[in-house]
Amino acid sequence: MKGKFLLLLIALSFCFSLFSQKYTISGYVRDKKSGEDLPGANIYVEELKKGTSSNTYGFYSLTLPKGTYTIKITFVGYHENIKKVVLDKDIKLNFLLEETVIVGKEIVVSGEQKNRNVESIEMSTYKLPVEMIKEIPSFMGEVDVLKSIQLLPGVQSSGEGNSGFYVRGGGPDQNLILLDNAIVYNPGHLFGFFSIFNADAIKDVNLIKGGAPANYGGRLSSVLDVSMKEGNNQSYHADGGVGIIASRLTVQGPIKKDTCSFIISGRRTYIDVLTKPLIKGNLKGTGYYFYDLNTKINYRFSENDRIFLSGYFGRDVFSFKNKRDGFSVRFPWGNATVSARWNHVFNQKIFQNITATFSDYNFTFGAEQDNFEFKMYSGVRDYSLSVDYTYLPNILHTVKFGAQYTFHDFQPGSATARIGGTFFDSGKIIHYYNHDAAIYFNDEWEISEKLKISAGLRPTLFSFVGPFTRYVLDDYKRAKDTLHYKALEPIATYKNIEPRFSLRYSINKSTSFKASYSQNYQYVQLASMSSATLPTDAWVPSTDLIKPQFSEQYAAGIFKNFKNDTYETSVEVYYKTMKNLIDYKEGLTSDDNIGNNPDNNFTFGTGKSYGAEFFVKRRFGDLNGWIGYTLSKTTRLFPAINNGKAYPAKYDRRHDLSIVLTYDLSKRWQLGAVFVYATGDATTLPISRFFIEGRIINEYGERNSFRLAPYHRADVSVTYHFPGEGKKWKSSLNFSVYNLYNRKNPYFIYFDTDVDLANYSITTKAKQVSLFSILPSVTYNFNF
């Protein structure tokens, strides 16, 4: 397989270079003021009516026949830049673009407007600049990248106020969340009510809901690629904010002008500091806080070489003490990621990236009470290396190929407990070690003016290796046998090939048809026992018992822009099937994980999701925003659940509507509004009850056969920019109201049963709990 793949690669490279008398123009597109790279800028050759766009690092390369060309660079929010070049040798040319007056506003000052969403081959993809995210009303004053993602069609929130998201009927663990290429295993703080992404340190966010190019892999449902800012390499700046629950500060600047810059950004909540004086006596020492720290250094040591070093470190810490009961709990959890990357440009046409990343997520828990003690630990640690190439042989092809390798160390939960003198010991921490490797090849090829295709292959290899101890259980969960595997001894190995294909057919200048097909394998999964995503949910890899998850997705869509590109619209339909999904066996509880391999507790099934997504976006003018609507259906089929009958997935949502609007009232005043409507969550309720030992026991109805009331909510925000033209210090005040009309959205329902058997009376009341009522917040932001 590998041999054939390389052969294909070489053959393709040869046929690209058959044409003679061609020269290459290449360089970077950057922001003139800060020196930040501008990814996704449009580089257009007037004479050929063709173009390309800059990559994630702002690099572009065009190989054209000898001649004189007019090159036009456009990038939203920046003034257009036009240069005439005489191409009779290879040329290096950097473009420095100047920002238009208002930060983050899509104002095109001159020139032709681009139908980028229509012309590009990407579908099911959204790019959100962080400046835009900042204009959307915020929750408790914290600008949240993940919550703005939830407002896009095909993406659903995992619950009230929660930053977790579901894409096209996939679970929360089926999203590949990357921060500067390092995998983030738990993107939430405080049970997901806040995301770990501090908007001040983030440059942009790219979401792919399906048909991702072959350089991405490992998850079934989506890719969320978040890149951190690089730091201003021209002058020092600080941004900060003071909100009701947290404060932020970001400092950036050049270490050496033009070549080396840094950024450091921190955020910490202060609920614990504010409530400290209130917590007295027995409860002293109880508190909760979280913090984030982002840093990045980047250094250009030549025109062709750059190094980036970036890191993220975040923690949630909760401690609870009750002296009277002698009870104390402490559990810190959080992520750490480190990425080191070297960019290199070979002979102007090949862009190379070598990236080493480290990612760590862990959760520790310790509780003590007199003669009872409980300790638990779970975590994931990844070491990975990837080599990626972008080869731009000529204006018609963009070839990407590379290899990726990760060594995973999963520790899905180990616990020890002591009651009195008896130790309930689960033994040592159980490790699951894995080799995870992939190679890929992807070519984006403009076959004709109208037709563009992208085809890719991603062969993957996943191997579960020792040391490992497997407990073989009988039907009654008794250990029948234990198998011991030596270090690096392969226990289970999976090899798969994932094809990816997409095409764009231009019907006319402002209309195109796009389609995609993709296969994905997923070798890691989150085992969630409860319906809330908790930090205790453990990641487990594919093993000899857990087969890799697999999905196939077909998508097609029409993209059309109206009124000279002012309105972008699209309609997409998708059909997705999933295999080897995991769930816990029915009726299991947390202690079944102790003294056992967690994968012994799983049961396997399939899933299906299909739907239509409608999107209208207004890009220019004082009024900006979008409307997204999704009509979809998602089901699960597990032989061991619900008596083998298909049932609606927890994230099955028939209707999902989001409206996002921002309006510039004047230079000083900005308004923002959000409205969301979603079908109620599917849930399982008791249908009947009976007596055992004189107590009432419930019999539950079919899985997820009941719907909670629909979810809807409106948020508004007002931002006032203080006058400060010409001054260095700029500041603004943002006032947001979450849940404007105080809708009591169901968070869950529970039953309150009063039993008085002596008087033969039983009464049951259903109670609906709502989480956040109307919630105003205010944030003061500044920069200098």
């Binding site: 205790t536 009850r689 026991i697 956040f772």
Partner: protein, 298 residues
Amino acid sequence: MRALFVFFIWFVLFTACEKEITIDLPIPEPKIVIEAAIEQDQYAWAFITRTAAYFAPVDSSIIMNMIVTNAKVIVSDGMLNDTLKLTFDPYTFPYLKYVGKIIKGQPGKQYWLTVIADGKTYTAVTTIPNPVPIDSLKFKPDKNQDTLGFIWIYLKDPDTLGNYYRGFTKILGKDSVFLHPYPSVTDDRFFNGQTAEYQLYRGRNPLEDSLYNDMGIGADGVPRWYFRTGQTVVVKVAQMDAKHYDFWYSIEQQFMTDGNPFASPITIRSNIQGGAIGVWGGYGVSMDTLKIPKHVKR
């Protein structure tokens, strides 16, 4: 893990509000519920009832309708048949109990149950495992208490894995039936072959709920779950087979997770064939009596 839930719930309740709602649930067909057991040296007994719709208001006539009084209940040891007779038991809800009079349980033997109710036949089989003897019992006062406390059981678990325990207590002169704490069942996965110590508190008797307030505190200010110095307590440790244990385990798991909206619902397991809910369970028992002295040193 519960502490995490406590924190989670605390966070939720910190910001949450609730309201009463009405829910339209489909009315399901009633099912037969069998709660039947045969204990070592005792005759078999059974309660045969029906399920009721979850939201149906329950009063005395509905409860009477839930009890099946005309079922045919037959226990067999493979040689003899024992047809259980409907009797009145004033100490156990719902009072109308089928009781045998021929076959007494013996450790190591298998027993079959056949129930014919509402025109359908249900069958089950269970075993009575050999009992595990109690080494010793001890009363330990709770901290900050002198006269109130819990009973500790000490026993040696057999070397083979797969012992399933259930503990009961009965205070002589106070309790009319054996009561058990929640949870009352455990298996020996974590202490196989070891000397185990286990703490028992006094369980709840559903017919005595009116004697205690919502917090479980009696009129005399004494919580329901304590044993007291000077009392004489019979302790019963029962052995079950795996399917019998599974039933009680699922029942007790439902109790633990009941009201926790984030836990997935616990389906009650059953060892009964034919579509009924419930259990036919054998108990191998060892009993011991603890006379708690008037004065106990801490």
